[in-house]
Symmetry: C2
Subunit: 287 residues, 2 copies
């Protein structure tokens, strides 16, 4: 079963959006909707149906893991410029899965304790256990994005981190975790419009931070840092995907499709009973 | 605003289901639906509307907490016999809230490390931060339920724990956390039927554990242990609620109402901007 077979996708998003050899971020138009020709209304229907599949697949995966029948897990890594829609992905895509099967971590500015350790220390502690969909809202990639743009570490340390990340993710995928890395890609103009909306609405003020404009001024440097991330860390076992995200509904549908693809690839099955079903029925009836 | 005012509730469930002085668990009929005269279809409508309110209130609470304008949080403690519906509450009630605002912990049999510490050690680490709805799927109460029934600790240690729990929860509520304690109450016959269903369906076998029947044989001892829990730990600041749960839809609606009540009591407000909105609009436009 592929995502394509039962939706309005005209091509498999996991292939279409994947960062392969020769990928150039500057060539991606954030306004496009690769692989999806249908409109927003069809998108809403596909998202609702996809939510049911995602929830079902995750429950199967969880069931398998409880029976010690699989080591598989999924880790969704979300990176983006401010206001690109990470929160909406978590609310509308991840939020459709039973919370008992989701392990969400929002990585903030590192604490003093975290800074005293290697940059992967806090990340290793939050990788999903078998059966779970782990979600990283920001991640170890911050350490080579803002870390690089703001020179928060010496150049050779930044350089070292790309390799450390590749090794870390290799260990994860070797252990059975599907690592789904997503950059939500909005345009600079779209960001201005979204930040402006936060300033216009009193119930959105709390989401606005004057520092957002400071980061925004560094847009080209961030895009360069993302390009380097893609060049150095989009591996066969843990590739990056760049999702055009000016259209929120497309971005949500695309990330859902990437998660569905990962789970369909695992193809989790209800585990067989580890006890004598007939005997247990008798015991239960007598109790 | 009370839950009662905008739904089919005929009385406030937070009062009706509360464990007060002289409460006797044996007097609660798990088949009843206190305070709710309308049927299942109305219940579904109320649950959907309640979900929107719950999500909205939690987002406001989160916003307030980000602005350092509140210490408030909510902690839902779920206890029940096997198959009473904790999972369904988490999926259908908690699952309607943005996952970014929920901190869920499923407490399992303690590990060796956890056993080497005081029973509250692992619990203290999981209390919700301001702005969050924390959910304990099982909790410190296991240490005076299975702990007592199975004599997993000496009698005087069990005895000590009731006081320790009361002190712990007092600290929580003094710090601004609303502690909503819920026992989902099913009948012994209903449990047999639910476990039988797990045995009947291959896709439910993974949820069945032969040990469930062993615990079931100790039903009266568990009911006694719950009664003692209520007598000793249902305090004015952190009262227990016993929710009749033979009807799943009623139980979900009731727990949702208890959460809504806690959040309405906090009455979170969108925080005022901590920056000059006009100046920021200018800066943004120029960026």
């Amino acid at each position: 079963m592929s995502v394509k077979s039962h939706t309005n996708w005209t091509a498999e998003p996991s292939k279409l959006l994947r960062v392969g050899k020769g990928f150039t971020l500057a060539d991606v138009d954030p306004d496009t909707k690769p692989g999806y020709d249908a409109g927003k209304q069809h998108g809403a229907v596909d998202l609702t149906e996809g939510a049911l599949s995602l929830d079902d697949l995750q429950e199967r995966l969880y069931a398998e893991s409880r029976a010690d029948a699989t080591n598989a897990a999924v880790l969704l890594v979300l990176q983006a410029m401010d206001s690109a829609g990470k929160g909406g992905i978590i609310r509308h895509v991840v939020g459709s899965v039973d919370p008992q099967g989701v392990a969400l971590t929002a990585f903030k500015k590192p604490t003093d304790e975290e800074r005293a350790h290697d940059f992967l220390w806090r990340v290793e502690q939050r990788v999903p256990a078998p059966g779970f969909i782990g979600v990283f809202d920001r991640s170890h990639y911050e350490d080579v994005l803002i870390g690089k743009v703001r020179s928060l570490a010496p150049e050779d340390e930044i350089e070292r981190r790309y390799g450390a990340i590749v090794d870390f993710e290799k260990r994860l995928t070797d252990g059975g975790t599907r690592v789904v890395k997503v950059m939500l890609h909005i345009s600079r103009d779209e960001q201005r419009a979204r930040l402006a909306e936060r300033l216009d609405r009193a119930d959105k003020h709390w989401k606005y931070n004057p520092g957002d404009v400071d980061e925004r001024e560094l847009w080209p440097a961030y895009m360069d840092a993302y390009q380097t991330v893609f060049d150095r860390t989009s591996t066969a076992n843990a590739p990056w995907h760049v999702v055009p995200a000016n259209s929120k509904w497309y971005a949500r549908l695309a990330v859902q499709a990437l998660l569905l693809h990962a789970l369909e690839d695992i193809d989790p099955q209800w585990p067989a009973a580890t006890f004598d079903v007939k005997a247990e029925k008798k015991r239960l009836a007598a109790s």
